[in-house]
């Protein structure tokens, strides 16, 4: 799919219903019609293509890193290249892939449909957010090609302000991308408040929207702090203001406080939408109402709220006071509790269900396991005394990859497979889907469980060369990463084939009660061919159809 940014070659199948307005993919096929579109679905596709480019680049950087770490000494690159490479890997994966992946692709596509609306509240702002993202991403990529920073994605001062490598384009690129995230968040909040169809009360709202609402709050409140702090680093690097230089009255640790004030909540910008996807899919594949809807919905807001008060757990060994460490430690536990509420409710949703083990369900199982293991090791690293040993080791690397790559990627893939028939009107090969899912779940475990052990053994992160005693686990991790790569290659192949040759999906292939499934597959530009009225919840399997009534408009 990443090979076809403009599906101009899209050939409508003979099975497409002839009458009625054309679906959104056929409503204009020129490049111009794509680049100037204000249709939220087309913007979602633009985002999909761009985040997949980000995923591809970030993945290639990751494979290069894993190859380099096969041997204790130099393997395929020198130390400077390695240091640039892990910076690029982090920056691309986080800013170009993880943060926009679920909200900007699936959020953009399905938020208006789930609201029963024709589009988001500010369609032009929505398009602007994509351009801002592309400009920021292009600037960052340009910086990577011309020099590339070697600071790590965390840009810790005073290293980042004194390194001889070029940090400016990447800092500016990342702060520009931040604006795209703010615009999307703003759009979503306003849309949820103002565009809900008649009958769509807050407690009937799909849980995906609750999670996007929580995400948007974080995006609006926290992202400006990132923009600010990255610009401060940029000005210091460019003009030497001395803001973070202790020799001139600055404070290097202040950077860490500001940076993590955004970057810790940013984890929830990535994880909350993932949790929303799981709520949607787990209900569909078990044909059951979500167990404890309110608890799941409110815990999204709980995570968004508490997430703002945990940033100090990144600074336990930075010289922060013992009292602060305790306060941030206990507050971090609450994120764990809110997450646990969701996990228990999801598992309880399966109870007495009618479960169908399709590809998205395989990813749900992977998600649950990665989230619990990654989440609990997260609570473990927030346990102050344990963090002293684990801080900045591979244990932390493994923990956040379990959450961000394990859990979030599982949800992204679950969402991609779940909504692919809706977005493109085609079905993919179920057998290959399951093969790829098993490869990916196995590959993730094989990649990152050795890294937990490496961290226990004391291998610090961002190490180009390491002690020979760490080699066996590093080789195991690289082998796992290779499995993972195979999984992604298989997915890319069968999804591209499905896009080109897949059979017709029909409006509701999973038999879901979600509101998005009452539209045609793919939906028409206006989403619904009439006025929408919501009569129940999107998880009501006592009904035979989704609880949405569409009344054709009287011409």
């Amino acid at each position: 799919m990443s090979t076809a940014p403009v599906p101009a070659s899209f050939v409508p199948g003979p099975e497409d219903p002839a009458p009625g307005p054309p679906h959104y993919l056929k409503d204009g096929t020129t490049v111009r019609s794509w680049l100037l579109t204000v249709d939220h679905k087309r913007i979602a596709i633009l985002y999909l293509v761009s985040v997949l480019v980000g995923l591809f680049l970030g993945g290639m950087f990751a494979m290069a890193l894993r190859l380099e770490l096969l041997t204790p000494g130099p393997t395929i690159m020198d130390a400077l290249t390695y240091n640039r490479m892990f910076t690029l890997h982090g920056v691309t994966m986080i800013f170009l892939f993880m943060i926009p992946a679920i909200p900007a692709v699936f959020g953009n596509f399905f938020l208006p449909i789930m609201l029963g609306a024709k589009d988001v509240a500010f369609p032009k702002l929505n398009l602007l957010s994509w351009y801002v993202y592309v400009i920021g991403g292009a600037l960052a990529l340009w910086g990577m090609v011309h020099g590339g920073a070697d600071t790590g994605w965390t840009f810790y001062t005073p290293y980042s302000t004194t390194t001889p490598t070029k940090v400016l384009p990447i800092l500016l690129g990342a702060s520009i991308i931040g604006f795209s995230s703010i615009l999307t968040g703003l759009n979503f909040i306003v849309s949820i408040h103002t565009l809900r169809a008649p009958g769509l009360t807050w407690t009937r709202m799909p849980l995906f929207l609750w999670s996007l609402y929580g995400t948007s709050i974080i995006q609006i409140l926290a992202t400006p702090v990132l923009t600010l702090v990255l610009l401060l680093v940029a000005t210091e690097a460019a003009f030497g203001f001395g803001l973070f230089d202790p020799a001139r009255g600055g404070d290097p640790v202040m950077f860490q406080h500001l940076f993590w004030f955004y970057s810790h909540p940013a984890v929830y910008i990535m994880v909350l939408p993932a949790m929303g996807v799981i709520s949607e899919t787990i209900s569909t594949f078990s044909r059951k109402n979500i167990f404890g809807y309110r608890m799941v919905a409110f815990s999204s807001l709980g995570i968004a709220f508490v997430g703002f008060f945990t940033w100090g757990h990144h600074l336990f060994v930075s010289g922060q006071s013992t009292f602060d460490a305790g306060a941030f430690g206990i507050l971090s536990m609450f994120v764990g509790v809110f997450t646990a509420i969701k996990v228990f409710n999801w598992v309880a949703t399966l109870y007495k269900g009618a479960i169908s083990f399709k590809t998205p369900f395989a990813y749900i199982c992977g998600f649950l396991y990665f989230l619990v293991f990654g989440g609990m090791t997260g609570v473990a690293v927030a346990t102050v005394s344990l963090d002293v040993h684990w801080h900045d080791t591979y244990f932390v690397v493994a923990h956040f990859h379990f959450i961000m790559v394990g859990a979030v990627m599982m949800a992204f893939l679950a969402g991609l497979h779940y909504w692919f028939p809706k977005m493109f009107g085609k079905t993919y090969h179920e057998g290959w889907g399951l093969v790829a899912a098993s490869l990916i779940v196995l590959g993730f475990n094989a990649t990152f469980i050795p890294q937990f052990l490496l961290g226990n053994a004391g291998m610090p992160r961002r190490y180009y060369a390491y002690h020979e005693s760490f080699q066996a686990l590093n080789v195991a991790s690289t082998a796992g990463a290779t499995l993972l790569l195979f999984g992604f290659v298989i997915i890319a192949i069968y999804l591209v084939l499905a896009f080109r040759f897949g059979g017709p999906a029909g409006p509701n292939p999973w038999g879901s009660r979600g509101f998005e499934w009452v539209t045609a597959s793919p939906p028409i530009t206006e989403n619904f061919d009439g006025e929408v009225e919501v009569t129940g919840t999107p998880y009501d399997y006592q009904e035979d159809q989704p609880s949405v009534r569409v009344t054709p408009e009287a011409e």
């Binding site: 130390a79 020799a247 460490a325 399966l350 749900i364 649950l368 346990t383 005394s385």
Partner: protein
């Protein structure tokens, strides 16, 4: 059991008193995590096996949770997480409270090596020699960017920050050699910034220290590094005394207990004072360092904020020497640390 779990988890050997303590919690946390994630995974698989879909449009019951169930969903994880926290925070308080009798060593990180200085005079690069079974406190700073002093076998780690001192401590329990890593990314040769802690039995350490103090040049570890060269002869206290005069400190700070323009240095170390803002401060190493770098931040009540900043005028070893000198000024006793054994 301890040994079995330690090996299974790839943890390094436990060479400090803190390591033995914190590993118990590590086992508890990891075992709970493994059980919980397996239980959730197995639970999902069990439900799938028990409730797999048999017909396409199978009907399912509408199940809503009871209050009890939701309360359990909150209470059980809360109970576990809070108990982890309580145990972990207790250990952390131990780690952030060095015993008073601890021996001090000054640690300076720079791209890309560790430098150690003992108040008694000796200094060394990359190799930190410490006695077994005696508490050692490290006072860390950095000459350039942030580094992090990490001894996996001791389970301790502390960032070394430019412009200020941070501290950590340990009691090594097993004589041996243990690697020191830099855990905070610091540039090109970050992964090569490796040092070593050599834990010596107490008497051997004392003998080594005495040898060093005797100024046996051929047994000095110190290499002549121009920028932060510290004269091997003369303890840090003596260097501090010289600096106090040459930098003009003694023009305002007396050492005999009389207050002049600034507070007297006699008995200043660990004295609790009130600032002009009415806050209590203890004159410990971080405070003394801060007062040299940013004198107006916390002015002792009754004095005018007239002291100039010595930021950029004092190098980290010089600050360390001044702090040691201030610590040595006691009216009740002379705390010039001397080796307990071995002849001078």
């Amino acid at each position: 059991m301890n040994e079995f779990l330690r090996t299974m988890l790839f943890l390094p050997e436990q060479a400090s008193s803190f390591a033995e303590q914190v590993d118990q919690l590590h086992y508890f946390v990891i075992i709970t995590t493994l059980i919980a994630s397996t239980a959730v995974g197995m639970g999902a698989i069990f439900f799938f096996w028990r409730y797999r879909r048999r017909v396409q449009d199978q009907k399912t019951p509408h199940v809503e949770p009871t209050v009890l169930i939701e309360a359990l969903f909150v209470a059980v994880p809360l109970l576990f997480f809070v108990s982890w926290f309580v145990m972990g925070f207790k250990d952390f308080i131990t780690l952030s409270t060095p015993p008073r009798e601890a021996m001090d060593v000054y640690v300076m990180g720079k791209q890309w090596m560790w430098k150690f200085a003992y108040p008694q005079g000796p200094n060394s690069i990359s190799t930190l020699r410490v006695p077994a079974d005696r508490p050692v406190r490290l006072l860390l700073t950095s000459r350039d960017v942030i580094h992090s002093f990490y001894v996996p076998a001791f389970r301790i780690k502390q960032d070394a920050l430019p412009g200020r001192y941070t501290q950590t401590w340990f009691t090594a329990t097993r004589p041996g050699r243990y690697p020191v890593f830099c855990a905070e990314y610091c540039g090109l040769t970050h992964s090569g910034m490796i040092g070593e802690v050599v834990v010596l039995p107490g008497p051997e350490f004392d003998a080594w220290l005495a040898d060093q103090q005797r100024g046996l040049a051929d047994r000095q570890d110190a290499q002549d590094v121009r920028a932060e060269r510290v004269e091997p002869e003369g303890s840090m206290v003596e260097q501090g005394r010289v600096l106090a005069t040459s930098q003009g400190c003694t023009r305002c700070h007396s050492v005999d207990g009389s207050n002049h323009i600034g507070p007297t240095w006699l008995d200043l170390y660990r004295r609790r004072e009130l600032t002009t803002e009415g806050k209590a401060v203890e004159a410990d190493e971080p405070y003394l360092t801060e007062s040299m770098m940013d004198p107006k931040a916390k002015v002792v009540s009754g004095f005018d904020p007239v002291m100039p900043s010595f930021r950029g005028r004092l190098s980290p070893p010089e600050v360390a020497a001044l702090v040691e000198y201030i610590k040595s000024l006691r009216s009740d006793r002379v705390v010039l640390p001397t080796p307990r054994r071995g002849k001078l």
